[in-house]
Chain length 286, copies 2
């Protein structure tokens, strides 16, 4: 919020007017904050995203979700505000640290799991090329990710249902980020561990085959992403943070869970509570 206020101060001091354009050049936090600043400054000015991390290129820059964090949770304050344009230059990935690259891959894997089994199979075959930053592999992964996201968002911009499926692994992941302190793990690292937990729960519910669970673990391990929350996470910490998740409605926590063949998922609060408890206990020491 302090940084956001500095953006407003500067915009007002330099007398930017309603025809101004805010350009977000950077990763997801920059894009989210700049987008919210653009949404709120003079009640809305033009906005262009130029994402420079894989995470921002495959996910956060597309779809118009903007916002800032609150000490009690991520992105609790924000707006749905679409950019006029998203400009992706894959050359920016040449200098991206390995951990940041892997973090973005967690979201790429997500698209395969929730709706695009062919893309998932492509990733299984091409993970080494992606990690080696092969330009054509990266370009394909970014393109298919943006296409998947754009399709979902165009069907459900304000997240009345379908769009929530983009949050596979994010509810567990947000709890991890919040529980250990933002910035300790990269977002995609938390999402990867969260995805493993969501898939574990889906499996406990009998909603997916063993092979799907195995393939999820294998692809995330190949990308050197975490497949479990850090040891300091407790069942209580998970429950505390998940209770303030934006997807809670009428006190009920809805989750995105895989169900059926590869590429199928549901967004539902209609699941056996015991399966959630068992998953949390399986991944936490206390």
């Amino acid at each position: 919020m302090e940084t956001l206020m500095k953006v407003f101060d500067k915009a007002i001091e330099t007398r930017l007017d309603r025809r101004s354009t805010f350009v977000a050049l950077g990763g997801g936090v920059i894009g989210d904050m700049c987008g919210f600043a653009a949404a709120a400054f003079l009640r809305g000015v033009n906005f262009i995203q130029i994402p420079t991390t894989l995470m921002a290129q495959v996910d956060s820059s597309v779809g118009g979700k903007t916002g800032i964090n609150h000490p009690l949770g991520k992105n609790l304050i924000g707006a749905f505000y679409q950019p006029q344009c998203v400009l992706i230059d894959t050359d920016t990935l040449n200098t991206l640290p390995d951990r940041e690259l892997a973090s973005g891959i967690a979201e790429v894997v997500k698209y395969g799991l929730i709706r695009d089994p062919e893309f998932f199979r492509w990733q299984e075959k091409n993970m080494q090329s992606l990690l080696a930053r092969d330009p054509s592999a990266l370009a394909h992964a970014i393109k298919r990710s943006c296409e998947n996201k754009a399709e979902v968002v165009s069907l459900d911009e304000k997240e009345s249902g379908l769009r929530a499926t983009l949050n596979l692994g994010h509810t567990f992941g947000h709890a991890i980020e919040n529980g250990i302190g933002y910035g300790q793990w990269l977002h995609g690292e938390a999402v990867a561990a969260g995805t493993v937990m969501a898939v574990d729960m889906s499996h406990r519910l009998g909603w997916i085959d063993d092979t799907i669970q195995e393939r999820v673990l294998a692809i995330l391990q190949q990308a050197k992403l975490p497949i479990a929350p850090p040891e300091i996470m407790t069942v209580e910490k998970f429950k505390d943070v998940m209770a303030v998740d934006k997807k809670v409605a009428d006190g009920l926590l809805r989750l995105i869970l895989l169900k059926g063949p590869l590429g199928s998922c549901v967004f539902t609060g209609d699941y056996d509570r015991n399966a959630l408890d068992e998953t949390l206990r399986a991944f936490c020491k206390c």
Copy 2:
């Protein structure tokens, strides 16, 4: 901004979810802030306006403009966010101070001047009833004001042109409020003085008859509203604040000016700069 943050803190601490409804009970500042809080909390929750001042009932609660003030200007940070409902109980006006009542009347007069000459003539005949808080006179004034505002907003929600005409007198008025410090004058008092200045400028440009100028002065005086800025306002102060007005585009200050018969106005940057300077000098000692 500090108060807004307290609203967010409370909303998050009490774990309000996306199906919550924020209710703004109070005057315009409450409605503007609560509306922006509703727009930004979890990227948008339900919102109901229950305005309790005449100003909020005839103007600020209708049309979805929400926002908060910045030390350098009013409502520079905000959102267009429509309430699900605006509920007006005219009984709340029974305990409204006289100055607050008059402040709201400044906006009622505005609707007559910019688009509803019949309403203006009705006001000329019924001003004493309004000031005496005659319930049926107040109800009519509120109803016609909301109808006028709703018509304008439905044609131009995001203020690409027509909606700006609702700001007759507001550019000069904002400069007064900012120049003397917010809260020194009520908003409608500043708008009244600003309206007199805008009408004076329209008259200098030869765009309206003498009689219109005289009738504006007469009706505002009847309502015991200011018809000139306070003495501490200088030409320089006006120019400084007007330069950061939201209606500045490409460095050009556009103004709402009366032009033609009663009930006609324009929103334009195409006017003789000398007329603006002359108006400012006519109303300021230095």
